[in-house]
């Protein structure tokens, strides 16, 4: 007991009261923090707050007015993502352990903080009366405070006593984290939050009732949590079985997952199968044969002689059929042949490279056909506002998709800008400079008003998809400049060393230059990621309903019977918390990754 106390007192002395000035600074800061804390608690508990505005509208926050009958699609998407997450965590489990002691001492610290917080919480807070005068009202009565304090204090004491025993038991770190998540899910059953209900006549029942958080979603969340555990154990089983292919399969699945889930949320396609039969299948087959022929003769000398003419020929064909009324699939595939002709000689110079490239070609044509057929058909999911997503799901779609599309695009732009080929360099520099010198909001208006004009005929994308396209360009340009900084930090010696061992340019870039360049710019990349996550709220300007707009404009106008008019502050605080939690988790995770990758730094 003395030992622990001594240690803590020494810590206080060394860190907070090491000199007169630091003691003074500690006291002043402490006083200010206390004031802020009491103010915030007073704000939250004030009778002027209408927290039911947040809790009652959870569905609005999550998926906005995504068609009710289709909301299982949203649940299923989360489920699939969690399934993959669990398998990944299980399969890539490093077996890192945390001791029972550190778990307990963590809990002890948290509960000490809670006890202190309850002790110093304000007794009353100021409210404004109808006539404009201010008065104080009680928010926590003495009996309430004691009622809360007793269980917390008891738990604190238990944890404190447990810290004194040296329990050698070790737990798998990942399991502990998933277990903690369980508390969140479990609390949905237990913790009661203020909400509103209605009587038979449809009138709001006063006073506000306390019901379990998210009454209708406790069961889905619990099922999802079970899915996470199950997936984790499947992953661990696969790890034990040493199934090597998963090492490549899992990252690829993660890359493709958002695409798949997005199409899952976006479309309930109504497909005309005779068009598939007449256009898509023959089209893909023809282009499979073309691709096969190109790869078959890629290293043939005669072919190489005519390759440039062929490339230009296909480019001209692409340009000339661009405005013809033929399925867009054919135009896209013709252009893809140009790309194939460009990369074929570099990659298909071995049997293995040829096989891989043929496989990529087959899959790419299929995916292209699948996506174009899907996007060309009508969306079956209709909402009154025309935008199919809103709230958190929109914020997430914009953030994740924005990154998925813009990051590779940024890498390509950065490489292009530093390329030796003048044409490539000029085009990439041009794109970057044009995109960066126009404000994001202008691009959003461009997406909402003008982009349809530039699209090929017959293809009309949803506003969200158009926003994603301009976001890809906009954040891509910023990523490109960050990555370029990383590329410039690579010394000439690295290029020379790669050349000297006989690597070709593609290997040099992908094995030597990019891994180092990306590592060097992780901090800036993360800050751009966080920026784009928050910037996604700008889409409110062009009529999309993101989290912020729902909280600041939609809910505060809900009138009878729920009557949440003017509940802006409550909602804004909730949204601030939402953004903070995710940005914080994100930056902490990245710090870990940075540390892990930084191992090989110079």
């Amino acid at each position: 007991m003395n030992l622990v106390a001594n240690k803590n007192i020494r810590w206080l002395r060394d860190n907070l009261f090491s000199s007169v000035s630091s003691a003074l600074l500690t006291l002043i800061t402490g006083y200010m923090l206390l004031g802020m804390f009491r103010g915030t608690v007073g704000f939250i508990l004030s009778p002027m707050r209408q927290w039911p505005a947040v809790t009652y509208n959870m569905q609005l926050y999550m998926i906005f007015n995504y068609a009710d009958g289709d909301s299982w699609r949203a649940w299923a998407s989360v489920g699939v993502a969690l399934l993959l997450l669990g398998i990944t965590l299980g399969y890539w489990n490093t077996g890192e352990k945390v001791s029972f002691n550190s778990v307990i001492s963590g809990l002890f610290k948290v509960f000490t903080g809670l006890t202190l917080a309850v002790l110093v919480a304000p007794r009353e807070t100021e409210i404004m009366n109808n006539d404009g005068t201010r008065s104080m009202v009680e928010v926590i009565s003495s009996s309430e405070r004691i009622n809360i304090l007793i269980p917390i204090a008891v738990l604190t004491l238990i944890f404190f006593l447990l810290t004194r025993y040296n329990l050698p038991k070790l737990f798998n770190r990942t399991k502990v984290i998933i277990f903690y998540v369980g508390f969140l899910v479990g609390s949905a059953w237990i913790i009661k939050v203020p909400t509103v209900t209605f009587d038979d006549a449809g009138n709001r029942v006063e006073p506000d009732l306390f019901l379990p958080l998210a009454t209708t979603t406790t069961i889905p969340w619990t099922i999802l949590y079970a899915v996470l555990w199950a997936a984790f154990f499947i992953g661990q089983y696969l790890q034990k079985k040493e199934i090597k292919i998963l090492k490549r399969l899992i990252p690829i699945t993660w890359l493709l997952l958002p695409l798949y889930l997005f199409s899952w949320l976006y479309k309930k396609p109504i497909i005309e199968y005779n068009e598939v039969l007449l256009n898509d299948i023959p089209g893909v087959l023809i282009f499979w044969i073309i691709g096969f022929l190109i790869l078959r003769y890629a290293t043939n000398e005669k072919f190489i002689k005519y390759r440039n003419y062929l490339t230009i020929g296909f480019l001209l064909v692409t340009a000339s059929i661009l405005f013809l009324r033929i399925p867009f699939l054919f135009k896209a595939l013709t252009f893809s042949v140009v790309l194939l002709l460009l990369v074929a000689p570099a990659i298909a110079n071995t049997a293995e490279g040829k096989r891989n490239l043929l496989l990529i070609w087959i899959v790419a044509t299929l995916v292209m056909a699948f996506l174009l057929r899907g996007s060309g058909s009508d969306t079956g999911i209709l909402t009154p506002t025309g935008s199919f997503l809103g709230g958190f799901s929109l914020t997430w779609v914009l953030a994740i998709f924005g990154t998925y599309v813009s990051f590779p695009f940024g890498v390509i732009l950065a490489l292009g800008r530093t390329s030796n080929l003048p044409l490539v360099r000029i085009i990439c520099t041009g794109i970057i400079e044009i995109v960066r010198s126009v404000p994001y909001i202008t691009w959003l208006f461009f997406a909402s008003v003008m982009l349809t004009v530039f699209m090929p005929e017959g293809i009309e994308f949803n506003l969200i998809v158009r926003v994603l396209i301009v976001t890809a360009f906009f954040s891509g340009a910023y990523f490109a400049e960050n990555i370029r900084g990383g590329l410039q930090s690579i010394s000439k010696g690295q290029y020379e060393a790669a050349n000297a061992v006989g690597m070709n340019p593609l290997q040099r870039i992908s094995l030597i230059v990019l891994p180092q360049a990306l590592r060097a710019v992780i901090p800036t990349l993360v800050s751009s990621l966080i920026t784009s996550f928050k910037d996604s709220s700008l889409v409110a300007i062009i009529g999309l309903f993101d989290t912020l707009r729902i909280g600041s404009a939609v809910i505060p106008t809900q009138s009878s019977p729920v009557n949440f008019v003017g509940t802006q502050l409550d909602n804004l605080l909730f949204i601030a918390l939402f953004y903070w939690v995710f940005c914080f988790i994100f930056s902490r995770r990245t710090m870990k990754i940075e540390k892990k990758l930084g191992l090989g730094e110079r």
Partner: protein
Amino acid sequence: MSIIVTKNVKKWFGDFQALDGISMEIKEKEVVVICGPSGSGKSTFIRCINRLEQHQEGDIIVDGIELTNDLKNIDAIRSEVGMVFQSFNLFPHLTVMQNITLAPIWVRKKTRTEAEEKAMELLERVGIPEQADKFPGQLSGGQQQRVAIARALAMEPKIMLFDEPTSALDPEMIKEVLDVMKELAQSGMTMIVVTHEMGFAKEVCDRVMFFDEGKLVEENNPEDFFNNPKSDRTKLFLSQIL
């Protein structure tokens, strides 16, 4: 049989002429030391041999392949010629083992196990098998340079180029690198070494070449080179360096 032949090689950096008509032949299994004052074009010359620098006039023929702009020839020559740099140029984001196996796996298309066996063999040869899983940043300069030699050898080159391999090292580390190079020379590798280590030249090499102002001023066997230099420039250089 000459493995490297150069004829009247010339190179300019802007207005500055770095190489002024270098003609030479190097036979298989020969160890050649190139020395000379700084700025004399010796590094530029060996960097021309594997096309890290491009010569503007003259011919360079390595193992029967002429160096032209043809990418295929350049790749073919680079996989025949290993190079060790003054500043090591190891890949800092990869472990020692990965540094050595990267090129055999990707360029030579070896399997991973095959490449790792070979890499372990080479690490033992250069005397640091226990460092295989460390990153270059965790090694001393001498160890890093030995890894760099192992990395070049992993490609099983016919020729090894050394561009001032010991200039960036502390005196006590120089010996460990030179020992590896000596062992390599005795094993019958064709080597061109740009160095100021005259001890190495006297002891190991078959021929010494002296460069000055982009010209090959003198070439001789080491004994005659150090004892009876022909040109005045060589005499002056030797008097300053020895």
